[in-house]
Amino acid sequence: MYHMQTGHAVGFWRKYVFSTDHKVIGLQYMITGLFMAILGGFLAYAFRMQLAYPNEAVPLFGQVGPDVYNAMVTMHGTIMLFWVAQPILVSGFGNYLVPLQLGAEDMCFPRLNMLSYWTFLVSTVLLVASFFVPGGAMGGGWTGYPPLNARMDYTGVDWGGTLWILALALEFAAALMSGINVLSTTLNMRTKGMTLFRMPLFVWMQNAANLIFMFSVGPLIAGALMLLADRTLQTGFFIPAQGGDPLLWQHLFWFFGHPEVYVLLLPALGILTEVIPTFARKPIFGYRMIVYSVVAAGVLSFIVWAHHQFVSGINPQLAVAFSLTTIMISVPFAVIIFSFLATLWRASIEYKVAMLFALGMLAEFLIGGVTGIHLASTSTDIYLHDTYFVVAHFHYTMFPVTFFGMFAGIYYWFPKMFGRKMNEGLGWIHFLVTFVAFNVIFIPLFAFGLAGHQRRIYDPSLWENLVPYQHLHVIATAATIVLLLGQIPFVFNFFWSMKKGRKAERNPWKSNTLEWDTPSPPGHGNFEAAPVVYRWPYEYSAPDREEDYRPQWLAPEAKP
C-alpha cells in the first residue's frame, strides 16, 4: 500500500522531474504531448504547402522532395496518433484524473507509473532522433505495410524505419504500464462509497480504453518484432519470396489499429461526459445505457478490423461480414451521442469555452462517423479507398477527438491543475478560429477525394484530372495556416493564466465529482481528509436544494 510522504519537503527534482505523483506524471505526459503536437502540426503545414504550391520552397522549411514528403506524412500520422492523442487523452488525463475522481491518494503503483512516463520519454527521443539519421525518418506510411517496409533498400530509409519500430514498441510498453495502473487503481482504490455505478463516466471510459488497448496491441507487438527482424536480419516473415505473407501484417496492424481509434475516442467522450452535464446543469441522460454501450462497442471493436483491407485481396465473403459488423458498431456510439443530445435537451447551457469545445467535438465527430458508414460498405469503399475522402473522414474523427476533446478537458480542468482560470475571451477566439479553420481544411478534401485524388501523393500537379481542382488545395492550406496561428491565443492564454489568471476556488464550475473536493491545485496525497461518496456524480438541477447541484461527497441532509 502506498503511503504519502508528507511533512518532509521533497526537492525540486523529486517533485517535478522524477516524480511518482500521478498528477505530475499526468502533466508530464500532457506537456510532452503538446510539444509533439507542435511538431506534428508543423509537418502538416510543410506538406500542405507542398500540396498547394508543388515544388516551391516552403517558408521556414525549404524544398520538399518526394522522400521528404513521404517521411513527413508518415511521421505526422505517427506523431499525432501515438505521441499526441494517446499520451494526452489516455495517459495524461487518465493519470491526472482517475485517482482524483475515485478519491484515491495516488495510483496503485506509483513507481511503475514513473517508469511508464520515462519509457515514453525515451520513445519520444528515439522518434525525434529518427529525423536526423542517415536516410531520414520513416517514410513508408504510418501503417508500416510490408514488403515496402520489410527491407531497408525498398524505401531507402535505413535507420529511420528501425527507430520508428523501436519507438513504437516502447510507446506501447509505456501505455501498457500506465493502463495497468488505471485498471488496478479503479479496482482497488475507490474511496468509501464509490461503488462501480457511482464512478464518473470518465473513469469508465478510461478503463474501457485501457482494456481495449491491452487486448488489441499484443499481436501487433509480436508482429512489430517480426518486422524488425525482417528489416535487420533479412528474415522473411512478411516477404512473399521467402514464404511470408504481407497480408498477415495488415491483419495484425488493423486488429490493433481499429480498436486504437476507440482507445482514443473513449477518453475524449469521457471528458464530454463530465463537461456537458456540468455546463448543461442537468444529469447525464442514460448513465447505465452509456456504460453498456461502451462495453458493447469494446467487444465489437475486435471484429471490425478488416474494413481497412477491402481492396487488399482479402476473402470477399469475409469482407461482407466485416462490412456488417462495422455498420453495427455505429449503433452503440449513436446511443452515446443521443444520450448527450438528451442531456442538452431543454438545458440552460452555460457557454463556457470548455463547453464550446465539447459541443464542437460532438458536431465534428458526427460528420466523421457518418462518412465512416460510406467507407464501411465494401462497394463504396472500393472507389473511395486511399483517396482524400478517407483522409477527410479520419481527420473528422481524430481531429475533434484529439484537439477538441483535449481543449475541452484543458479549459475545464485547468483551474484544478494550476489554481487559476483561463481567460474566456481568448478561449472564445481560440475556439472560433479552430472550429472554422478545421472545417475549411477538410470539407474540400471530401470533394477532392470524390474527384479521385489519391492520398500520399507528393505532387498532385502530375495528375491532369486533378489540376482543375488545385484551388481546393490552396484553400485547405490557407486554412491550415489559420488553424495553426489560431493556436497562439491558446498557448499565450495557457502560460499567462498559469501566472496571472483569475484565482480559482476549489470548485469553480460547481461540479459534483471528487476532484473538486480538493484544493486547487491538489497537494501530494490529494485529499485533506478521505472523502466518502454518497451518490452518483450527476446530480445537477436538484429541485429540492438551494444550490442547483449536489456533489458526491456531500453528506445527505438530515430530513426535518
Binding site: F215, L247, H251, F302, I314, N315, L318
Partner: protein
C-alpha cells in the same frame, strides 16, 4: 493447497510430458497431434489452476485472462481464410 498437492501435481505433469512424447513417437496421425495438444492444454490448466492458484482466484480474473485468449481465437479464425487458404488470391502465393 499444501505441499503434498504441489508435489502430486508435479508428478502428474511429468507423466503428461511422458505421454506427449510417447504420442509423438506413436504415429503420424491426426489423433496423435490432437492428443499432444490436449496434454499440453491439460498441463497448462494444472499449472494455472494449482500453481498459480487460479482455481481459488476471483472469477473476474478468470474472465479477464479468458477474454485475452478469446481475442486470440477471433484473430486466428478471422485470418484462416486469408493466410491459410488464400482464397481469392493468386494461387501459390
Amino acid at each position: 493447497m499444501n505441499r503434498g498437492t504441489y508435489i502430486k501435481i508435479y508428478f502428474v505433469l511429468l507423466a503428461m510430458v511422458g505421454v506427449s512424447v510417447l504420442l509423438g513417437l506413436a504415429g503420424h496421425t491426426r489423433i496423435a497431434v490432437a492428443g499432444i495438444f490436449a496434454t499440453a492444454l491439460f498441463k497448462a490448466s494444472l499449472v494455472l489452476g494449482y500453481y498459480m492458484h487460479l482455481k481459488a482466484e476471483k472469477n473476474w480474473v478468470k474472465w479477464m485472462l479468458g477474454s485475452g485468449v478469446a481475442c486470440l481465437v477471433i484473430l486466428f479464425v478471422g485470418l484462416v481464410p486469408d493466410i491459410v487458404y488464400v482464397y481469392g488470391r493468386i494461387a501459390g502465393n
